[in-house]
């Protein structure tokens, strides 16, 4: 599992269901259980959504053995992680993925939006169109809700080390970085070069 794949599940600081405290470390927490914290979100790689897609039917480790989560109370940048030794133990929680879709927003109608879903679990299935409430989109992702926006919907079982399990659903929008001035300049130059090669002037 790549870093971006894991972050796709872990990077929502508001998702308590994944065992991540939205308010950060709690100094009053005296529980003896060690808590894991996801690294701060970072932009997805530029390689496109294919590389962001989670493996099909796989189990995701949501505990400290995952390569981007460590057993401590404070988020640590990845560079710092490389420079120190982490203590690993059995995973606290896993998400057994039953179904994953890639969605593309078609249109937004007030409190609802319609999207086209490509089945990543069973790619031979035809694209499905679903309408769902905007409130299903995690609050930090709502600013990304626009026609053409790409997101992933994962349904599965969250299973804990103590045997407890429950159904879980996670909608995450693809956080491709915004266009920067330098990226735009480069894209424009590429376009200009291609236009010249094609005699497209």
């Amino acid at each position: 599992m790549s870093r971006s794949q894991l972050l796709e599940v872990l990077d929502d600081p508001h998702d308590l269901s994944l065992g991540i405290d939205p308010d950060g470390p709690n100094p009053n927490n005296t529980s003896s259980a060690r808590r894991f914290t996801a690294l701060p979100p970072s932009p997805y790689p530029e390689s496109g959504p294919a590389s962001d897609a989670m493996g099909l039917g796989q189990t995701m480790l949501l505990g400290p053995t995952a390569p981007t989560a460590i057993l401590q109370d404070h988020p640590v940048p990845i560079k710092a992680l490389d420079a120190r030794s982490a203590v690993f133990s059995a995973p606290m929680e896993i998400l057994r993925v039953l179904q994953k879709w890639e969605g593309t927003v078609q249109d937004i109608n007030g409190t609802e939006f319609t999207a086209r879903f490509s089945d990543l679990t069973n790619p031979e299935n035809p694209p499905e169109f679903m309408t769902m409430p905007v409130e299903e989109v995690p609050t930090p992702d709502r600013e990304l809700l626009a026609p053409g926006a790409v997101f992933y919907w994962v349904i599965g079982y969250r299973e804990r080390r103590d045997g407890h399990r429950e159904r879980a659903s996670s909608i995450r929008f693809q956080r491709l970085p915004a266009w920067t001035a330098s990226a735009r300049t480069e894209a424009k130059e590429n376009a200009h070069r291609l236009a010249q090669e094609l005699g497209w002037t």
């Binding site: 694209p127 894209a187 376009a191 236009a195 005699g199």
Partner: protein, 377 residues
């Protein structure tokens, strides 16, 4: 349909439609073919034109003279890159509304999808193929042939017992070209200025820059309406088509109805002044979100103008496949509507010998059917 090649003096128009998407294959006579837009056969995902022409025994490398991409929307370009790769001697024709660095810039800005093709990603591959194919040509000779109002794209003079043919673009108008490039620029600027997140390109409406074609083979004329829509004013859309020199005085026998029969693509002037009485009207459906074309009203309107209207396939929603119980239970309270497009695919084929313009033969294959006036897509 039978898979005999048409006679050398026979015009053929075959319209393919897989529920969403369309492709027109035209036999111009003398074994020369042209393809307008592209879609895939849903059964084997082959480009419909390539599959059909191969089945007919046509040598696509030498006999396909032109591939016209009327506009870049997903439902008109699916598989066009594969088609172009196979038709190695075909000329690529694009709307003049795409000419300019703006469009290439726009294509570069689109994010490639993980599993679904989009019109823009297909276009990007098409441009790469074109670049490779034309690498040896001098700069002046490179690029697609640009279609714009009143521009002749293909023609052949009559030869012993073989009819002349002439393919002319009726759109986009100058105004539509300017408007389209402005819209592309606006889209680019919106993304840039606001530092908006990258996302897939989304088609804007209305479509005023699609390429409408008038094809004349012998004395028979065909009008292919693409997705062109009508707008108030006379400078773009169908209003501008009616201003062209080419369409004046010509009445077409076959009409590929514009924009899947939608009211926005309708021009009563076209029906009254530029089609024969009882023309053969052929169209494909469109189905996305709550939009289903043609609607009941559209079918009524088309059938009130001709008794010879044909649709490649119905566009219907159907139930999605059942998934495991835990998944179904999770989806149910979240999704208020779930549906998939019913799989269908059809071909409408019109053949007419140029010496007998009144004797058109219409063959239907797959889910293609005649419209009766009391149905929607």
């Amino acid at each position: 349909v039978d898979l005999n090649v048409p006679q050398a003096d026979e015009l053929e128009i075959s319209l393919f439609g897989p529920g969403v998407g369309e492709c027109v294959v035209v036999h111009l006579g003398r074994g020369e073919w042209m393809v307008v837009d592209s879609c895939r056969d849903p059964d084997d995902r082959q480009p419909a034109a390539l599959k059909y022409l191969t089945q007919l025994g046509v040598n696509v490398a030498s006999q396909v003279k032109a591939i016209v991409v009327t506009h870049w929307h997903d439902d008109h370009v699916d598989g066009v890159d594969e088609l172009f790769a196979a038709c190695v001697n075909a000329t690529l024709v694009c709307s003049q509304a795409l000419r300019g660095k703006e469009f290439i810039d726009f294509v570069n800005m689109d994010r490639p999808p993980a599993v679904e093709e989009t019109g823009v990603s297909t276009f990007r591959r098409l441009l790469e193929l074109l670049k490779q194919r034309q690498a040896a040509l001098p700069m002046k000779a490179r690029g697609p042939v640009w279609a714009s109002a009143d521009r002749t794209l293909l023609n052949q003079a009559a030869a012993s017992n073989l009819p002349a043919y002439n393919v002319v673009a009726l759109s986009p108008s100058d105004a539509a070209i300017t408007l389209s490039l402005n819209e592309i620029n606006e889209e680019i600027e919106r993304s840039h200025v606001n530092l908006a997140p990258k996302r897939r390109a989304v088609a804007r409406q209305p479509n005023e820059a699609a390429v409408v074609l008038q094809i004349q083979v012998g004395g028979i004329s065909v009008l292919l309406g693409s997705d062109l829509e009508s707008r108030p004013g006379v400078w773009d859309g169908w209003s501008a088509v009616l201003q062209t020199q080419t369409i004046k005085g010509i009445r077409s026998t076959v009409f590929k109805v514009a924009h899947h029969g939608a009211a926005s693509g309708h021009s009563s002037k076209v029906w009254e002044d530029h089609l024969i009485v009882e023309p053969i009207a052929i169209l494909t459906p469109f189905l996305i979100g709550s939009q289903r074309l043609p609607s009941e009203k559209d079918v009524e309107r088309i059938c009130s103008s001709t008794s010879q209207a044909y649709l490649t396939s119905g566009a219907r929603w159907t139930q999605p496949p059942k998934r495991e119980t835990a998944v179904e239970r999770t989806i149910k309270p979240i999704a208020s509507e779930r549906r998939v497009r019913r799989r269908s695919f059809g071909q409408i084929r019109v053949r007419v010998a140029t010496g007998h313009p009144g004797q058109c033969r219409v063959d239907l294959a797959g889910s293609a059917h005649r419209l009766t006036g009391s149905e929607s897509a």
